[in-house]
Amino acid sequence: MSGFDDSLLNEADETVRIRMVVNGRKVAWEVAPRETLVDCLRDRLELTGTHAGCEMGACGACLVQLDGRAVHSCLIFAVQADGATIDTIEGLSERGAIADLQAEFHRRNALQCGFCTPGMLVNAHELLSQVAQPSREEIRDALSGNYCRCTGYEAIVDAIDAVAKARGTSGGVT
C-alpha cells in the first residue's frame, strides 16, 4: 500500500447518522458529509425522479420540497437535511398534490424529454402555493431557474397559467 493517501480516504470514510421523513416515510441513513441530498435520494432510496442536471443550482432539475419549500437538492448536503421533511416528485405524485398540474402538462405536451419536468412541477407547485393567480410574466420569472432544452417554455407557462385559473374558479386549492 505504498503511496496511499490516508487522510483522503479517512475523510471520505467518515459517516454521520441522519434521519428524515421522505415522502411520508421515516428514513435513517449513515451518510458521508460530502454526500449531497440529490445523490442520497437517487442512490439510497432509488427515488430517481429527482434529477441532477448541473449540480450547481443553475438548472432546477433537482428541486424537491424541504419542509414545504422548494430547494435545490444538489446544493444541500444530506447532513444539512437532518430532521427535515422531504417531498420528491414521487411523493407529490402519489399523494395527488400536483395531479392537476401533471394533467395539464400532459394535455398541452408541456414536456418533451421529461428530464426537467419533475423540477418544473415542484417549482410550479411552489409558485402556486405562494401566488394564487400569477401573471404570465410572474410565471416566467418564477421558472427562471428551471432550464429546459426541449420545449420553448411556452406550453409550460400555459399549463401553469391554466391550472392557476382552474384552481381559482374551483375555490383555491393549494
Partner: protein, 791 residues
C-alpha cells in the same frame, strides 16, 4: 354550431389530430427510465482524468497510488484499451481528400484538447473513482497549441497533428463557372464577413452509458443514452470484435439529444472496453463540467459572402467562402465536415438565381470536436443568405418582404434544382411569406416601430426564410461508406386479445415518436390508439434502422409504420374473409371491428379473428396462412431529401444604452408536409426556435489563448431561460411529399434553422438609425455597444 365534417370526424382518424403522448404521463410522475437512473447488480462506476493541456505529449503516467485505493477495481490508460479496441477515423469516402487522425478510446501518446479523457478509473462508487483520479500523476510535455482559425491556416504554423502537412481536414468547391461574370454585370453587390461562435447542445441529462459485458455468454449489453442504437451496435461489434448478434444496445428514455448523442465519444467507447476488461457492468454519466469539455460543439464558422443583384433587386449570384474550425479530430462515424457541406449547399436555397460559387475549408484546431447538432449547417446558411438579402433590400430601398416576394422560387415553379445542386420537390415560400406578413400584422408593427423610435425606443423587426433538409436517403451517409442506415423497419403483431404491438426502429427522445407511430398505426388499422403499444430503442427486439436523426422519425419511420400496418390489415381481412365467407375487399376495420366496407355494419371484432387464429386454427380452412405478425422495411426513394421550408419573424427591442436585447415575440410559418400531430409539431417548432434564439443571443463556448474552455458550466455558459424567451406564434402551410403515401416531412430543424437569422436581421433593423451593423453571432451586449461605438 355544427362545423362541416372533416376527415378527422371518421372513427380512429388520428393522423392530423393533436393527441397527448401516452408515454409522457410516466415522465410527469418522475417514473422516467433514463440511463443515468440505471443500477445493475455488481455495477461499477467509471470516472476519467482529463487533460489540463490543449496539446501535449504524454511522457509518463503513474497509476500505482490510484490502484491502491480500496474500492478501485481498474485503472486503465489509452495503451490498455488500445489492446482490445481498434481505432476509428472520422472520414467519409465521398468527401474526396478528407483527412483525420485515428482515434482510440483514450489517447496513447498525445492529448489534443483541454478536457480530453486520459486515464479511466473504475471503482465501487463514482466518489471513490474521483478520489483515485486525484492520485494519478501524468507527466506532460507541452506542444504548440492551435486555437485561432487564422493561426491554424498559416503555412508553416503549428500543427494539430504533427505528422500532417497542414491543419486542413477538407477542402471543397462548388462553382458553375459564371459567377465572376454575374458580379461584373451586377447593378448592386452586397458583401459581408460573418462569424458564428461555437455552441453546444447542453442536453439536460448529460451523456450516460452502462456497458455490461458478460464473458460467460460472450455478450455485450449497452444501455446507452443515444438516438441511434443500431449504429452503436455495429460500432461496438466491429471495434471490439464481438459478433453483432451478441451486442445489444438499449436506448430507453433519453434526456435530450439534438444530434449530440449520436456521435462516438471516447469515454463511451472506453466504458465498453472497461466492462470487457472487468467482465462487470460499468456505468459512466458525464457531469456538467465534463459535458462542456467533451460533448461535441457545433457551428464555429467564419463566412465571407457576397450577393449580386440586378437594378430591380433580382438576385443574380452568390459567392461564398466558409471556413469552419472543427477541433482536433473529425467525429466518427458521421464526420465533422457535414455541417460545412450543408452550409455551402443551403446558401440561397429559397431563392431563384443561377450563378453560384462556394469554397469550404474545414480546419483542425486544439479544441473539442464539433459536429452535428440540431439543424446542421442551416442556421449559418440561413443567417448569411437572409442578412445579405436584407442588406440588398436596404441598398435598393425595398421592404424586406418585398425583396423576398420578388426573389423566392414561386410555389408553382417546382420541381427545381438549386444552383448548389439540391433538388426540391415542392416548396411553398410564397404562401409562407404571405401568411407571415398577415400573422405579424407587419404594417402595424412598422408603424409602431416608427412611433416608438421618436421616443427613443428601438425596436427591430427581422424576417428570415429557410429551407430544411429532412428524410435523408442513402445519398447522405451510405454513399460515403458509413454504416448508417437510411431505411427503417417495423414489426407489427396483432395480439391474441386484438391489440397491436409495434416494434419500430425509429427512436424516442421526447419529440413524440412513439405517439405519432401509434397514431399512424391506429389510424391505418382502424383501432383505438390506446390499443396500440409502440416499442422502440432496443436492438435485440426492434428491427434494424436508421432511428431518429435528421428529421426522419415521421417521414421515414411514419411511412414504415403506415406500410406495415396496411400489410397487417390485409392479412387480418384475408382471415376475416375466410371466416365470414366474404371477399377481403368487401371488408374494412373500424374501431377494432371488422365491418362491411359498404354499409359499415359490424361483422366481428378483430379480437375474435386473433382468438381463432392463435387458439383455434383447426377451425380455419386447410392451408390458411394466419400471418398476424408482419415485418416491413422502408427506405426513401425518389428525391434524395424531403426538403421543407418556412419563414420566421422576430420582434425585439434593443436597449442602446446597455446593449441588452429583449425578445418580444417570435413568429413562424412552417411547411412540413402532412402534419400527423399538430400539437407535437408546434412544440417541436417552439423548442427549435428557442435553441436558435439561444445561439443568437447567449450561447458561446469561449476559449482562452491557450485553448482552455473558460465558460464550461451552466453558471457561465448562458442558455435561454423562461424569462428571456418570447411567446412564439405558429402557422402551417401543408405541402405533402408525393414520394410517400403518408406525405410527411420532418420538422425538427425548422425552428433552429432561421431563428438566429431572424434575430440578426431584427437587431440590425433596430440599429439602422444609428448606421450600426452587427455581423456576428451570438449578439452579446458588448457587440451591440461596440457597433454603436459606445464601448
Amino acid at each position: 354550431m355544427t362545423a362541416p365534417l372533416t376527415s378527422l370526424d371518421r372513427p380512429n382518424s388520428y393522423i392530423g389530430r393533436s393527441v397527448p403522448r401516452p408515454n409522457a404521463k410516466r415522465l410527469l410522475a418522475g417514473r422516467g427510465r433514463y440511463v443515468s437512473d440505471l443500477r445493475l447488480p455488481r455495477m461499477l462506476y467509471a470516472a476519467f482524468l482529463r487533460s489540463p493541456h490543449a496539446h501535449a505529449k504524454i511522457v509518463s503516467i503513474n497509476t500505482e497510488p490510484a490502484r491502491a485505493i480500496e474500492g478501485v477495481h481498474l485503472v486503465a490508460t489509452g495503451v490498455d484499451l488500445a489492446e482490445i479496441c481498434t481505432p476509428w477515423t472520422g472520414t467519409l469516402d465521398h468527401f474526396k481528400g478528407m483527412t483525420s487522425a485515428p482515434q482510440w478510446p483514450l489517447p496513447v501518446d498525445r492529448v489534443v484538447w483541454a478536457g480530453q479523457a486520459v486515464v479511466a478509473v473504475v471503482a465501487e462508487s463514482r466518489a471513490i473513482a474521483e478520489d483515485a483520479l486525484e492520485l494519478i500523476e501524468v507527466d506532460y510535455d507541452d506542444l504548440p497549441v492551435v486555437v485561432d482559425l487564422d493561426v491554424a491556416r498559416e503555412a508553416g504554423g503549428p500543427l494539430v497533428n504533427p505528422g500532417s502537412v497542414n491543419n486542413i481536414c477538407f477542402r471543397s468547391q462548388l462553382d458553375n463557372g459564371t459567377v465572376d461574370d454575374a458580379f461584373a454585370h451586377a447593378a448592386h453587390v452586397v458583401e459581408e464577413e460573418f462569424t458564428f461562435g461555437r455552441h453546444t447542445a447542453v442536453t439536460l441529462e448529460p451523456r450516460a452509458i452502462v456497458a455490461d459485458y458478460d464473458p460467460a455468454a460472450g455478450m455485450l449489453t449497452v444501455h446507452h443514452g443515444t438516438q441511434t442504437p443500431y449504429q452503436f451496435q455495429d460500432l461496438y461489434s466491429r471495434h471490439y470484435d464481438i459478433p453483432e448478434s451478441r451486442v445489444r444496445v438499449i436506448a430507453s428514455d433519453i434526456g435530450g439529444s439534438f444530434g449530440m448523442k449520436l456521435h462516438v465519444y471516447h469515454e463511451d467507447m472506453a466504458v465498453v472496453g472497461l466492462s470487457i476488461l472487468l467482465g462487470r457492468p460499468v456505468k459512466y454519466v458525464a457531469d456538467r463540467m465534463e459535458s462542456f469539455v467533451s460533448d461535441i460543439h457545433a457551428r464555429d464558422h467564419r463566412v465571407r459572402a457576397r450577393m449580386a443583384l440586378d437594378a430591380k433587386g433580382g438576385i443574380l449570384a452568390m459567392d461564398v467562402e466558409d471556413l469552419t474550425a472543427i477541433g482536433a479530430f473529425s467525429t466518427y462515424p458521421r464526420t465533422s465536415v457535414v455541417e460545412g457541406n450543408q452550409v455551402i449547399r443551403l446558401m440561397g436555397a429559397p431563392y431563384r438565381f443561377e450563378n453560384y460559387r462556394a469554397t469550404l475549408e474545414v480546419i483542425f484546431q486544439n479544441k473539442v470536436q464539433t459536429s452535428q447538432y440540431r439543424a446542421v449547417g442551416h442556421p449559418i446558411a440561413c443567417a448569411v443568405t437572409e442578412r445579405l438579402v436584407d442588406m440588398a433590400a436596404a441598398k435598393l430601398g425595398l421592404d424586406p418582404f418585398a425583396i423576398r416576394a420578388q426573389n423566392v422560387i414561386p410555389d408553382d415553379a417546382y420541381p427545381q434544382t438549386s444552383p448548389t445542386g439540391y433538388r426540391f420537390e415542392a416548396l411553398s415560400h410564397q404562401a409562407c411569406l404571405k401568411r407571415l406578413h398577415q400573422m405579424m400584422d407587419y404594417d402595424g408593427l412598422r408603424a409602431e416601430q416608427a412611433d416608438l423610435r421618436k421616443r427613443g425606443i428601438h425596436r427591430g423587426i427581422g424576417i428570415a426564410a429557410f429551407v430544411e433538409i429532412t428524410n435523408p436517403s442513402p445519398a447522405f451517409y451510405g454513399v460515403g461508406g458509413a454504416r448508417i442506415s437510411s431505411q427503417d423497419g417495423a414489426i407489427l403483431s396483432l395480439t391474441p386479445s386484438g391489440e397491436v404491438r409495434c416494434l419500430i426502429s425509429v427512436t424516442e427522445q421526447g419529440q413524440g415518436t412513439e405517439a405519432i407511430i401509434s397514431q399512424i398505426v391506429a389510424d391505418q388499422l382502424g383501432l383505438a390508439q390506446e390499443h396500440v403499444k409502440v416499442i422502440t430503442g432496443d436492438t435485440e427486439v426492434t428491427p434494424h434502422g436508421g432511428a431518429t436523426w435528421a428529421c426522419r422519425g415521421a417521414g421515414i419511420g411514419g411511412e414504415t409504420a403506415l406500410q406495415a400496418t396496411r400489410a397487417l390489415k390485409r392479412n387480418i381481412l384475408e382471415i376475416a374473409a375466410l371466416i365470414l365467407q366474404e371477399q377481403p375487399s368487401a371488408l374494412d376495420i373500424i374501431d377494432g371491428q371488422v365491418v362491411d366496407a359498404a354499409t359499415r355494419n359490424q361483422r366481428m371484432p378483430i379480437s375474435e379473428i386473433a382468438r381463432i387464429a392463435y387458439f383455434r386454427s383447426d377451425t380455419l380452412p386447410p392451408g390458411t396462412q394466419a400471418q398476424l405478425t408482419v415485418s416491413h422495411h422502408f427506405a426513401p426513394q425518389g428525391y434524395p431529401f424531403a426538403f421543407t421550408n418556412g419563414i420566421q419573424g422576430c420582434l425585439l427591442e434593443v436597449d442602446v444604452e446597455t446593449g441588452l436585447i429583449k425578445l418580444l415575440k417570435h413568429f413562424i410559418v412552417e411547411d412540413c408536409g402532412r402534419v400527423i400531430n399538430p400539437m407535437l409539431v408546434d412544440e417541436q417548432l417552439r423548442g427549435g426556435v428557442v435553441q436558435g434564439l439561444g445561439a443568437a443571443l447567449f450561447e458561446e463556448c469561449r476559449y482562452s489563448d491557450t485553448g482552455q474552455l473558460v465558460n464550461g458550466s451552466l453558471a457561465d455558459y448562458l442558455v435561454p431561460m423562461p424569462m428571456e424567451m418570447p411567446d412564439i406564434v405558429i402557422a402551417h402551410v401543408e405541402t405533402p411529399t408525393a414520394d410517400t403515401e403518408l406525405g410527411a416531412k420532418g420538422v425538427g430543424e425548422a425552428g433552429t434553422a432561421a431563428a438566429s437569422a431572424c434575430v440578426l436581421n431584427a437587431v440590425n433593423d433596430a440599429l439602422a438609425p444609428f448606421g450600426a451593423t452587427i455581423n456576428s453571432i451570438p449578439i452579446t451586449p458588448m457587440k451591440v455597444l461596440t457597433a454603436l461605438k459606445r464601448f
